[in-house]
């Protein structure tokens, strides 16, 4: 293979990683917001799925991409709202409720999406980019949004008053309560936002990165997001890097199918292909192992009130 061809391949892979990682980015940052407020939502997979399905359905009915994305966000947010009600108002166990979200989301998206499986999608608008050739315009826009999203959320978290409020609620809700912040309202807001962004992530998948709907479209990406949040130490910028890394891992098996790469082409070597499929999941575990030692060293940890339902003390009427 010539150098320029290798370069082209490298850039294609890089761009592919960015594209592939962006849905994960949205979901991860959404969950970071939720967990920073103190509520764990394991149902990311379910919320992404309803977002993907809902977005696709609306898109195919209205031909409007933006509307589709908005619909995906709405669906994700609604599912998160159920979780919020169960865990915040009813103060039930967050782990189990999150699992229920996953079941529900998986089931609903399967049921309501069934008529749309395999439906043809319109050809995307393309741009011509040097070296990369023709790329889908929507993908470029999506990646750009993602690249802006993470630093914006970082800034929000660390340099604004709402961000300070959010962080305080997740660390020490009684202190926040005693100073006039509404713990319940804050948590409801960010859990729902988490769902909205997860839904956005799902819709990105069915509308932009890999347009189309099949049952179980997200194939476990939501679960990777759960692990990624911990690896990112609840920081959006690290979440950004992690998401792209995983985007890369997911793309590699596809990109390496090129038969022109005799040694490592997965077309010739299905074993390798399967092994590479395992990579993202194994990588998450590896990252957790690495992350756990780092946490011990740097004494960074989860928001102190994560997972603990907030019970306000007696207030009278």
């Amino acid at each position: 293979m010539t150098t320029s061809a290798l370069m082209a391949l490298g850039l294609t892979i890089a761009f592919g990683a960015l594209v592939s990682g962006t849905p994960l980015l949205f979901a991860t940052i959404g969950e970071i917001l939720s967990e920073r407020a103190g509520v764990m939502n394991l149902g990311i997979e379910g919320m992404m799925l309803v977002g993907a399905m809902g977005g696709f359905v609306v898109w195919s009915k209205t031909d409007n991409l933006l509307l589709g994305m908005a619909a995906g966000m709405l669906f994700g947010g609604l599912l998160a709202l159920v979780h919020a009600y169960i865990t915040i108002t009813l103060r039930a166990d967050q782990v189990v409720s999150g699992l229920a979200v996953t079941f529900l989301g998986t089931g609903i998206s399967s049921i309501l999406g069934a008529p749309y499986v395999g439906q043809r999608v319109p050809e995307p608008l393309t741009l011509y980019v040097p070296v990369l050739g023709r790329v889908a315009a929507e993908q470029v826009v999506l990646v750009a949004i993602g690249l802006l999203f993470a630093p914006l959320v970082w800034y929000y978290l660390n340099r604004t008053r709402p961000g300070l409020n959010l962080r305080s609620v997740g660390e020490y809700p009684s202190a926040a309560d005693s100073l006039g912040l509404s713990v319940y309202r804050t948590r409801y807001l960010y859990v729902t936002l988490g769902g909205i962004f997860s839904g956005l992530g799902g819709a990105s998948m069915s509308l932009v990165t890999d347009a189309g709907w099949v049952d179980g479209k997200t194939s476990g990406l939501g679960w990777i997001a759960v692990g990624l949040v911990i690896f990112a130490a609840w920081d959006p910028m690290r979440g950004l890097l992690g998401s792209y890394f995983f985007g890369l891992l997911r793309r590699l098996p596809l990109d390496l199918q090129n038969p022109a790469l005799p040694l490592i082409s997965t077309a010739n070597n299905p074993t390798l292909g399967r092994l590479m499929d395992m990579l993202p999941y194994l990588a998450t575990i590896l990252i957790l192992i690495v992350g756990s030692r780092e946490a011990i060293r740097k004494r960074i940890g989860a928001p102190a009130a994560l997972g603990i339902p907030y019970v306000r003390g007696e207030r009278g009427v």
């Binding site: 340099r159 604004t160 008053r161 709402p162 300070l164 409020n165 962080r167 305080s168 660390e171 020490y172 009684s174 202190a175 926040a176 005693s178 100073l179 006039g180 912040l181 004494r299 102190a304 003390g313 007696e314 207030r315 009278g316 009427v317």
Partner: protein
């Protein structure tokens, strides 16, 4: 001619909780610029009353007047708007955030973008003004308890509070820090602030207050007494309604053999910093060694090292003839070592399991409870019924989940569990914390009974009264070292206080 307006007036306040009348038509009046102490024991209703004033609780009946105007608070924010702020016993500070971030939390300006530098400057200036130096960029977890308290005060001052309520502020301070606090309070009253000082410590009340109001069981027993005109004994009687025996009835000690001996025990705490520095203690059979010291000077680590929850980095300890080393399996010590931990609910018991199942925590491995691989349920039940009767634990059945017991009964369960195995050594950490007078008395009696039976007791407590009344000998810990040891009888509180603060004492 109208009286000078009172800063605060509370009239006929009634506050009820399920099953409890916390404030029974309480009147409370406070003049501007004074330090007014609110005195009473645990459960008298002082914190409740002040929580009403600070807007945390809404009273069932009664009026509140601030500067002569009737007000009604729906939240602490309303109270702060009227200039009333409260510094609680448990600080409401977010540990990973900075001082400035904590001070500014919950305010309405700035609305969106936070300019922390500006806030930091303001906080520093405020601190200077009142003689409370604190670094506005420091993270809360890096500060000492005294400094954290200052942050809480600054929080209130930043919000322009004129009336400051302090709930048991000295419970976590050394005697020297208490002096600093008192001079700060004087500084504040000099500037026109009014202080309400909730306490159960007579010494402090007499020393800092201008006037004293005493509560007992939800009612006022004495209103706005001038502090100069009262005696401690008189106050104590108003508090408790009976002659207070400051000493527990106990026979003189007849210590036997050395049961516990540590030799230059060293350990680090959770943060990796040294917590125990070459600690040498000795406890004999039939004696109570009280360990005094402000919380955080290594007492917790001492208890945890001795009970095997925390590794020692060097040094040794022995219990009787058994050497306690890093590898000793503490369950092998079985019944010889009993532990009454600091935090009943969080650490000392299993809330979801029944009373009977809690009681077998130490004994489930051996007969008669543990038989082979299994557990003899009938034996468990019999054991539970016996202990419930013996220790007078009030519970409808032995199958009740332990989280439904009251604090006092829970402590009895723990005591029963730990002492029923006839241990050689009991390590008791803050055994009467959070218990009312009756429960505390019961706990103390049980400990004395064990002492009489020849058990060695290591008593760690923040309550100097408890230590002085129960201990035979006292040791004082400061920064991980034993800085003083003496017989409890005739011990000089001043000396102990100075040791607790690290001042060297001759002789």
């Amino acid at each position: 001619m109208p009286e000078a307006l009172n800063a605060i007036e509370m009239r006929g306040i009634v506050k009820r909780f399920p099953g409890v009348l916390a404030n029974d038509r309480v009147d409370f009046v406070c003049r501007p610029g004074e330090v007014h102490a609110l005195l009473g024991e645990n459960g008298a209703g002082k914190s409740t009353l002040m929580n009403v004033l600070a807007g945390l609780y809404r009273p069932e009946a009664g009026d509140i007047l601030v500067g002569g105007q009737r007000v009604s608070f729906r939240s602490p924010q309303d109270a702060i708007a009227q200039g009333i702020g409260m510094v609680h016993q448990h600080f409401m500070l977010v540990p990973p955030h900075s001082v400035a971030e904590n001070v500014v939390l919950g305010l309405h300006r700035p609305r969106f973008l936070l300019n922390l530098t500006q806030v930091e400057e303001q906080v520093a200036a405020l601190g200077e003004q009142y003689g409370m130096k604190v670094n506005p960029r420091a993270k809360i977890w890096q500060l000492s308890v005294g400094e954290q308290q200052r942050v809480e005060v600054l929080k209130m001052l930043f919000r322009k509070a004129k009336v400051l309520i302090m709930d048991e502020p000295t419970s976590v301070l050394t005697p020297q820090e208490v002096d600093t606090l008192f001079s700060t309070l004087r500084e504040m009253t000099g500037r026109g602030h009014t202080i309400v000082f909730i306490s159960h410590k007579l010494d402090e009340v007499v020393s800092i207050a201008d006037r004293v109001t005493v509560l007992r069981r939800g009612r006022v027993t004495a209103a706005a007494l001038a502090a100069r005109e009262v005696t401690k004994a008189g106050l104590a009687k108003l508090m408790v309604g009976r002659e207070v025996l400051f000493q527990v009835d106990k026979k003189p000690s007849r210590p036997g053999e050395v049961v516990l001996e540590t030799d230059r025990l060293c350990a680090t705490n959770d943060r990796g910093l040294p917590a125990l520095r070459e600690v040498c203690v000795t406890v004999r059979a039939g004696e109570i060694l009280g360990v005094a010291g402000v919380a955080g000077n290594g007492q917790r680590e001492l208890a945890e090292v001795l009970t095997g929850l925390h590794p020692a980095t060097s040094g040794s300890a022995r219990l009787g003839t058994t050497r306690l080393g890093k590898r000793t399996r503490w369950q092998d010590l079985g019944q010889h070592l009993a532990h009454i931990p600091e935090d009943r609910a969080a650490v000392g018991s299993m809330p979801g399991l029944s009373v009977a199942e809690n009681l077998i925590l130490r004994t489930f491995r051996e007969p008669p409870i543990g038989v082979g691989w299994g557990i003899d349920r009938a034996a468990v039940r019999k054991n539970a019924e016996r202990l419930v009767a013996e220790y007078q634990i009030s519970t409808p059945t032995v199958d009740l989940p332990v989280r439904m017991l009251s604090g006092g009964n829970l402590q009895k369960v723990i005591l029963a569990r730990e002492t029923s195995g006839h241990p050689q050594l009991i390590i008791a950490v803050h055994p009467s914390r959070g218990l009312d007078v009756g429960a505390t008395e019961a706990v103390h009696k049980l400990l004395i009974a064990q002492r009489e039976a020849g058990v060695a007791i290591l008593l760690i407590s923040e309550d100097l009264d408890e230590l002085l009344s129960l201990s035979d000998r006292l040791a004082v810990m400061y920064e991980g070292r034993i800085v003083g040891e003496m017989p409890a009888e005739g011990a000089n509180i001043q000396t102990i206080g100075m040791m607790m603060a690290g001042t060297k004492v001759d002789g």
